[in-house]
């Protein structure tokens, strides 16, 4: 479980973000020591039901739209109309 995968994570840059709840700076590659009770899974392609066949580089198929296409697991999907949790 990473802060980076939480809906309460606020993007800052390529190495860190901020927790919207605690306002603490958290690092992307930092695993949470203890599972956070307030963790909410962020919408990303990698956790979308319309994401399939992921390869070793995190690239898979998006079947959430009329035209099927490739996408990647870490792509944000909070604004995507095809996202299915």
């Amino acid at each position: 479980m990473r802060h980076y995968d939480c809906k309460n994570y606020i993007n800052l840059d390529c190495e860190k973000g901020m927790c919207a709840l605690s306002k603490a700076i958290v690092f992307i590659d930092e695993e949470q020591q203890d599972p956070c009770a307030k963790f909410v899974l962020a919408e990303k392609c990698g956790v979308c039901k319309n994401f399939q066949s992921m390869d070793t580089q995190g690239i898979g198929q998006c079947i959430g739209f009329e035209k099927e296409n490739w996408t990647y697991a870490s792509c944000g999907a909070s604004t995507c109309k095809g996202y299915m949790s």
Binding site: I10, N11, D13, G58, G76, T79, C80
Partner: protein, 898 residues
Amino acid sequence: MKENDVKLQEILKARGIDMGLVKNAAEIEIPEAKDSTKKLMDIYYNLKVTADMEAAYWYDRVWWENDGDVIEVRRAKAVAASLAHMTPTILPYEKLVMNKTKNVRGAFPFPWVCASFFNAQAEALLQEVAAPAENEADSVSVVGDGGGNVTKSYGNVISLAKKFGMRREEIPILVKTAQKWKGISVEELSDKYSKMTPGYKQFKGIMDSVICMFDSFAIPQGREVINYYLPLQYGFDGILAMCDEKIAELMGNAEDDGDFGMSRGYYYAAMKEITKGLSAWCENYAQRAKYLESVEEDQQLKSNYKKIAEVMGNIAHNKPQNFWEAIQLTLCCHLGVVNEDPQSGLSIGRLGQVLQPFYEKDKEDGIMTDEEVIEILELYRIKITCIECFASAGVSGGVLSGNTFNNLSLGGQNYDGATAVTPLEYLIIEAGMRNKTPQPTLSILYDEKTPEDFLLKAASCTKLGLGYPAWMNNQTGMNFMLRNYGPEGMDLHDARAWCLGGCLESAPGCFLPLDYNGKMTMVPGGASPTCGTGVHFIALPKVLELVLTNGFDKRLETQVYPPHNQAIQTYEELIGLWKKYMELTTDVVNRCNNIQMDIWRKQNMPVVNSLLKPDCFKKGKHIGTMGARYNASINFESCGTITLVNALASIKKNVFDDKVFTLDEMVDGIVHNFGFKTAYETGVFSPDFRESTENSSTYEKIFAACVNAPKYGNADPYSDQIFKEYHYYMYDMTHRFTSYYGKPLYLCQISVSTHGPQGFVTLASADGRLAGTTYSDGSVSAAAGTDKNGIYAIFESANAYDHSMHQNAQLNLKLHPSAVRGVYGTRKLLEVVRAYMRKGGFHVQFNVVDSKTLRDAQENPASYRDLMVRVAGFTQYWCEIGKPIQDEVIYRTEYEKA
């Protein structure tokens, strides 16, 4: 203590006044920045410049999914998708929201514009090995390694272009996206057709030798002024309704225009797509703010998120109802434009005049106090400072020094010819004094009608050593506008609407009627495409070097120009050969850049900017098809003017007039760097640092003669005449070439940061400058340390020609803080500015800083994270500037008297 101070102290003491108190009272007390600003700046100082793939992925996906559609509609759909799918980021304490990307100092690559960089390095990137430089300009460009720049890879962060950090897991996405554009990006397609020009080989030689160091496709937009009128007047829903009306009227109807008439329908279809994208982008922020409100426990922050949701929800559809919504809408449009191309120099324009009606109504209605408006304006500065441009190392470091030149102009004249200064503009300066950030840099359009208290406020801001505001001559700017855009029908009203695009690119504008608060206000805004692509940047001293070496570049061991094989007997012959090489350079570079920009406008036309820029929406034409009101905006940019002038003066004096040395002896001295080590050997780029070799004594006399030759900036007619003749030649020469819009070029004179890398590739010059050291900065600044007769002598030299002939002229001055101390110092500073403006000088800007401080900052960058300096038309954090430019700024002549 100085003699005058002692006298003053005695007089005051005799009258019972304590000098200490007087001194303290003399300086204006500047309130601290607001708490929200301080918290967000604390975050900013620790941010890494970051590139990610969300926007690029969605652009690429939607582009290919719409293969076969009419190209402007396809392009609009792709840009709209990139905006509408980015993860919205809102920080606690923010009041204005939206970023270029999900990261705060974020940017993203544009492989459809330039793919070769990624494709050539794909393997290197995937294997996480150091990627090779893209080209020669990249290899000689130095990016500052402090601040937020990611100059090296670490952990799961990969460094791109020596500046951007990208997550390791996104590198395969970048490579996969870029590969599809191989051979069809703007860069590669334009290169394919450039090869058909007869001068292509010559063009490549010129680029490889870094005589020219910029391809227009690298930053095809910017160095222009945005126009916020349409959304402020109609709102996005209003624009969508107008698009529908126009589509109904024009789709399938050519009227009497068999050539272009049918295209108008497609234009409005494209504008509808991009407007929907902008609206969705705002709506996404409204939704994110609602979510954050729902999880926030702090009541103040909760209420703040609620307000953001309300503002973003409203501007997603409606025209703004208050100042907060209006400035947020302008920010949305600004970020929308800078996200549709690699871009720098998209200037904000005269924002304080555009938003004055909204500010005025809020004040009348008691909706916001001035302090609340100042807070918004402080936060606005952070937003603009966070705008990054993803480009190669040569562009981001060598040209831009990491800045994106979002210039905000103040003052000038309004539609009726009265002063245009508004009450809101005082607050904009105030916010710039309280929250000291590089962007937006501020520019004062100095006019004799400008209120004195406004000028004094601006001068008190300049004094703070922030590098802003810079000072531009409004009358000279208007004269240039009428001269350059008169043939396209510019009248006096539109001439009054001009301001700065980019750092110093005078850009045309127009006034449009904003209907708000029950009255109509004529608001200014930009009315042209970029005023900054074309033949850019030409190293004038390097061209002279190649005249002296018969066209052979001794650094690269390459024949760049055709050998002239002439034994030069006179100064006139020398100048004749320099002109010949200049014209050859301009011809081949111009043709290739015309192709670059033509491919760009056909394949990658602006869509957000083509919505906003008058008269695109009125004509049904995008910017690429000359929808803008004025199109004679493409130019020729020079670098190293004063180094060239001083070198010519030395050769003329020492070789041809006084005959102290032969030209061969002079060339021998230059080639052997006058017996000193080169800057690339010593690593010091400052002209004052010299390390001898065993040959030093051989060149002692000739070096001394070169150093002591007449120098520009001392009101010396000898060098000033050469300077004047240069300008009249350049005016004539540039106008003989035409842009892809079929309009004449003209001269732009900003070095930005190119005087670093272009100096780096140039041998010693006859003025005594050593090989590899940075050229003189700006275009009318004296070469560092050569101006011996004071500021007013520079003013005399600088105005040896009419500044309204060209787009700009740049004078950078460095003042010791003691020179402008106290309220009298503020007045003195303003008088210096006024003296220069009254002589006709176009622009002057100041670094008010002690050189000792800069030296200490160079040695201890961590202690100076927030130190800013003025480079050449822009302010930048000291620690984010490359060393060659740092050295040059340190060595600039420091005036202790204003």
